[in-house]
Symmetry: D2
Subunit: 267 residues, 4 copies
């Protein structure tokens, strides 16, 4: 294996507690510096497409289909040991990608347990079942768990750290009362209004996660999360492996205005 994970221990009870209460868990040093180098090389070798947004962002799709090394990593015992205790049922890989971000790129806050979704026929949902955080009889049954692996340091606010609202993966209310108002890539909502800056003044429960190259961050997609705008130079590189129960389709954005009962799609 060219990308051998350093992590070899099963998830501890306290790590489970942290994931359950915070909606994420950081595993420092999941990859060695050498493995990070290999990953970075693989990502740069693969062709990418420009992801839309206010800043520069390149996305490499289907890492696992395009790289035997990433396929091996995704199926490795070390990655499974991060996913299995959070999903606790037959599961599958539903997406794998890398993101290369440079100056000004942003991910605005998206998802969140109680947020409003508008869909076909002027209907509204307040639960997105595709990322439920559920517990039964001592085990978590999460619907969408993502393993992020950092390939560059994200240590200061300027590096565009991951951010989230405390406890939002179990929120009963919506933070954004009008719902998911646009792409996570933009500072302007679909209605054309500028969005509130990602600060503690605007979001009193906003938390930041710093990470070093090689760290893994396991997140529950139910978190209302995003990342600060990158202001520093250099590239912010990260790979993402998304897992879900085996009856869930590959990740594909739904057209929420469609009313076709044959259409696939996440929302």
């Amino acid at each position: 294996m060219l990308i051998p994970p350093s992590q070899t221990q099963p998830m501890s009870t306290r790590e489970l507690y942290l994931f359950d209460t915070m909606g994420l868990l950081r595993i420092p040093g999941f990859l060695s510096p050498d493995a990070v180098e290999v990953c970075r090389g693989e990502v740069r070798r693969l062709s990418s497409t420009e992801a839309l947004g206010d800043g520069a962002k390149e996305k490499v799709e289907d890492l696992v289909g395009n790289s035997a090394h990433f396929a091996e990593l995704a199926a490795s015992e070390a990655v499974r040991a991060l996913v299995e205790p959070l999903v606790n049922q037959p599961y599958r890989l539903i997406e794998s990608y890398a993101l290369r971000r440079t100056r000004q790129s942003v991910f605005y806050l998206h998802n969140g347990s109680g947020e409003v979704l508008h869909y076909a026929g002027d209907r509204v949902a307040r639960r997105n079942m595709s990322y439920m955080h559920t517990f039964h009889d001592g085990k978590l049954y999460c619907m969408f768990v993502k393993v992020l692996i950092y390939l560059s340091d994200v240590l200061s606010d300027d590096d565009g750290p991951f951010c989230y609202l405390q406890g939002s993966h179990k929120a009963n209310f919506a933070w954004f009362p009008d719902g998911d108002s646009g792409s996570p890539n933009a500072w302007v909502s679909e209605t054309g209004n500028p969005r509130a800056a990602l600060t503690r003044e605007n979001f009193p429960s906003l938390e930041f996660v710093r990470a070093r190259a090689g760290d893994a961050l396991v997140i529950n997609e139910a978190l209302l999360h995003g990342s600060l705008q990158k202001a520093s130079g250099g590239e912010r590189i990260l790979t993402a492996l998304g897992f879900a129960p085996s009856f869930v389709t590959d990740w594909k954005r739904l057209d929420p205005r469609s009313d076709d009962i044959q259409r696939l799609g996440h929302y």
Copy 2:
């Protein structure tokens, strides 16, 4: 439309209450006698395969793909009016089939909210997320709702009525402690032991549902349900339309012993 549903009213508050508490709802006279005749003709026109089991059972797969009439029915306002208030999110059709059953055929009790699932690597799940019954802010968010339409009368115990355990769609415990012990088609479990007969003595909370040709029965798949053995003559014909949130794949049985993170499958 050759199969025009007779039902035109939206689901009432009390019908929602009944579905929420019982896990099912019967809609008498959903199809007129004429529409039932058309359906029966369509089902008999389509080729079927013999479903394995102790009794005679023929299954017609993919009704909607094979019959324009059933495709129209599945997308009709009347069927949607039964599904929409139970799923309350973008949804899709994940299966459509008909069953023709004659003497001795049976469906043993299967599913159930808290039942044990054994899967790859000696792991055990106590939640099957593919058929969760969930409620939030005045709305149900079900993961798998099936509309059964009766094409023959099932009035006596001899006709093999639908049966279920009261409240099993919200059970916190397992009725069968050793889990899903074999096919719903057989009176003998996977371990070779005969299964307990479907009686009130063996199952104190067992309930039966009688229905006439043309009735619809909407069920939450989380119910621990089956049907009595058919002892009467003639055919018991029924069509089934299964709906799930749009991120769920077409229904396909999972090989629970597989450990492949790329494999699709329900369990």
Copy 3:
């Protein structure tokens, strides 16, 4: 002990399943015929007050305070074995009474998990926390469990059997949209309207429980329950022991119009 319970076994897994899914559990022959005789004698010995309502009903309050025999029964291992696995936390006896009912007496449907409660200041609650049915990590945590012990046979509809709505202890909706509209003792609601008769036509999920003298019926008070009108002759006698977590006060009806933050009361 003058009232020795016959039941000596701990609650089985299937009994737990039945209580969890049905909201009640019948224990046949909990008291021997001799013990039933003693109970009946004790109840008749104690002074009672007439309970208001459409039919004749006498209530004996505080059985445990007024009878050493009932005090012993309430604290017995056999009664505790029925309560402990349903409450699973420190608990106390919050009420004990007997009811003697003759012709025409009734208990209309009351309680229910999602029913509407109107209280002081035109406020409305949809949860009555005093009778939550909760589950965590393999155990039930119920807030109000009542052990009913039958001292006379209730075998036919004319005997006024206990009745309830299937699954109502976990209902997410309200059956009665305008809320708790009057005393369970009356056939006329507070607004002066006659109430719907307790039939399957009016309540499609209505279930009846027959019992013999000596049987115990353990119920979760979250059930939407009552009893049919008694039409037969003779007395219907029953004792009730109510248990709740230790931080709950003795049962006492709240004046819901009061807004005094020092007042005790159940609702």
Copy 4:
């Protein structure tokens, strides 16, 4: 009114979101500096008892019974506006006290949604129903809400700020696997072992709350919370008003080893 609260607005949707996700809500400037002075005077006027622990701590019991001013405050519209939207059912005041703390006093982490409770007969509970955080149909139904009013500034770590574990009011697991290991007043557990210091190294999800004299902090008692050791000079003064549904008794510590079904007590 001698202690007139400055806060006059109803709780906003975003404040509800913050309370639901964080388990607490800070209301800056709930009392004016003048009102704080009156409160401080009242607290000092009332007799106190020394609370046991490692540091100096004086407790004034039953503020509301001993001071007409505090009784008026507890029943004021402003305090009710903090409690009502979190309890959403008839409620009562179950305790009121003040704490005067000087150097070295501590409150170790206590409560927490999934923590282990040992009680009579070697039994174990994993849910403390007396402080459930529950949501139904757009409303919170909390079992124990406490309004803390700061009468002195707590601005630095040395002042002994309130601390809690992120999301612990909804935790499904226990942070302390052996349960409630002693008094919140002590740095030594019941088993005689020193307890882990309240740092981010030991508790990665530990959060701190700074507050000024006059601020109110509304907390859900389900939080795993405490306060840092006070190292600065001067007094840290705070009043606490505890509210619960009306069927809950006045707060009184249960003897968890007692098995008396007549005993009251919180745990």
